[in-house]
């Protein structure tokens, strides 16, 4: 039955052809068409398409790599910044410390200087006072002398009584000594 069918299907047909008939012209055209198609498509399609696809794949990979690189770089810069920041902080601390020490020194020095100056002023004042005192004393002496002379004159003028004189002199003298 199967052979019958195969013969029936393959061998029958109008014009006496069978399905297994090989037409040499068709082989010729298939070969020509296929070869030309391979060459044309290779040039027109496969090469540009595959190149474009490969370029795209490479581009994606590149941009991923670049993103990774940029991330790393950013991380590095961040770390650097942090390092710089902490260094700056340290430095500013140092500067503040230094300036504090300097200020303390300065304060002490100024305090000392002002104390010295005060001392000097006091000393100067004392010396001046001493000098003024001496001058006043000198003047007083001169005045006492003058007063003595005036008193003597008065005594001379009122030289009536020796006792009186004596009393007057004494009176003056006590007055003077009181002063």
């Amino acid at each position: 039955m199967l052979t019958n069918l195969i013969i029936g299907v393959l061998a029958s047909g109008d014009g006496g052809g069978t399905l297994l008939d090989v037409n040499p012209g068709l082989i010729f055209w298939t070969a020509i068409t296929f070869i030309i198609l391979v060459l044309v498509l290779k040039r027109v399609a496969w090469k540009p398409i595959l190149t474009a696809l490969d370029n795209r794949a490479k581009g994606i990979e590149d941009s991923l790599n670049r993103a990774e690189q940029a991330k790393e770089e950013a991380q590095k810069i961040l770390e650097e910044n942090q390092a710089t920041l902490s260094k700056a902080e340290e430095e500013s601390k140092k500067i503040i410390d230094q300036s504090r020490i300097y200020a303390d020194n300065l304060k002490e020095q100024m305090l000392k200087e002002s104390k010295d100056q005060q001392q000097k002023i006091i000393e100067d004042a004392s010396a001046e006072i001493e000098r003024k005192k001496n001058a006043a004393f000198e003047e007083l002496k001169n005045q006492i002398a003058d007063i003595s002379i005036i008193a003597a004159e008065k005594i001379m003028k009122e030289n009536i009584d020796a006792d009186k004189n004596k009393k007057i002199v004494e009176k003056y003298l006590t007055e003077i000594s009181k002063n």
């Binding site: 039955m1 199967l2 069918l5 029936g8 299907v9 029958s12 047909g13 109008d14 052809g17 399905l19 297994l20 008939d21 090989v22 037409n23 040499p24 012209g25 068709l26 082989i27 010729f28 055209w29 298939t30 070969a31 068409t33 296929f34 030309i36 198609l37 391979v38 044309v40 498509l41 290779k42 027109v44 399609a45 496969w46 090469k47 540009p48 398409i49 595959l50 474009a52 696809l53 370029n55 795209r56 581009g59």
Partner: protein, 283 residues
């Protein structure tokens, strides 16, 4: 196996053909076989004029040649458009997207794993092979067209190209003598060579032979089954069988779409595999 099922249904269909209307299965073959006219029944029929012979060869283009050219033209136009669209933008859109998926499927899923190292040189040939067969198969499913891949001459020619690709790949990689020596597996006893050498030589030719027969038989079987299904209506001579026939025919038609894809895939992957085996003989 679906093919044997097809054959069974074919047998019953053909039997009924023979019992009901004598020996008249010619109309089925008329639709399947190559001819010198483009049939657009019932509208018109174009008769192809006789070409002058070339070195005694009758090169008059037949129906199958015309549909082969149509396929080739479609492929060139389609992939030219696709290639051009990549110049505008590397982001695929629309038809480019579909084609890109198929191209990458062929390259990365068929050729790369089966052919292995050095696959790049064969990619243009195998891509062309895949799309040529695929479009030929699919074009044959359109009414009024013809399936040139169901012609043994066409599949045999494609298989011959596969044969040459396999041998050229092997010889180019290994050198002629070491390739021929490598055809026989290493390390078998010398008395076995008496058997092995003819077997290996035979297997060189059975591989492309199987490729040719497989594509031819698969493409022709589906069409015969569809035509037989529809033919049942006329042979049994009643309209009651029509719904079942049409449903079955549609089912087979849908199956044919799948078969069109599978056969293009199988022809390409086997060719790629055989080239890979010839190139990397050590495996």
């Amino acid at each position: 196996m679906p093919v044997s099922n097809m054959v069974d249904s074919l047998i019953t269909a053909a039997d009924s053909v023979q019992t009901t209307s004598g020996n008249d299965s010619g109309w089925i073959l008329h639709h399947i076989m190559d001819s010198r006219e483009l049939d657009f029944e019932p509208f018109f029929t174009i008769h192809i004029p006789q070409f002058p012979t070339l070195f005694g060869l009758d090169i008059t283009p037949t129906k199958h040649v015309f549909f082969m050219w149509l396929t080739a033209l479609l492929l060139v136009i389609l992939f030219y458009i696709v290639a051009r669209s990549y110049k505008k933008s590397l982001v695929p859109k629309g038809i480019t997207n579909v084609c890109e998926v198929m191209i990458l499927f062929v390259r990365d899923e068929i050729v790369k794993p089966t052919l292995g190292e050095g696959y790049e040189k064969f990619v243009p040939y195998l891509l062309t092979l895949f799309f040529f067969i695929l479009f030929g198969n699919l074009l044959g499913l359109i009414p009024y067209s013809s399936t040139f891949t169901s012609n043994i001459a066409v599949t045999a020619t494609l298989a011959i190209f596969s044969f040459f690709a396999i041998q050229i790949g092997g010889i180019r990689q290994n050198g002629f003598f070491s390739y021929v020596k490598g055809l026989v597996p290493k390390g078998i006893p010398s008395w076995m060579l008496i058997i092995m050498i003819p077997v290996e030589i035979l297997s060189l030719f059975t591989k492309p032979f199987a490729l040719a027969i497989r594509l031819f038989a698969n493409m022709i079987a589906g069409h015969i089954v569809i035509l037989s299904m529809l033919g049942l209506i006329f042979f049994i001579g009643t309209y009651f069988v029509a719904p079942a026939s049409v449903l079955f025919a549609i089912f087979i038609y849908l199956l044919e779409i799948l078969v069109a894809l599978i056969q293009a895939y199988i022809f390409t992957i086997l060719t790629s595999l055989f080239i890979g085996m010839a190139v990397h003989q050590e495996h």
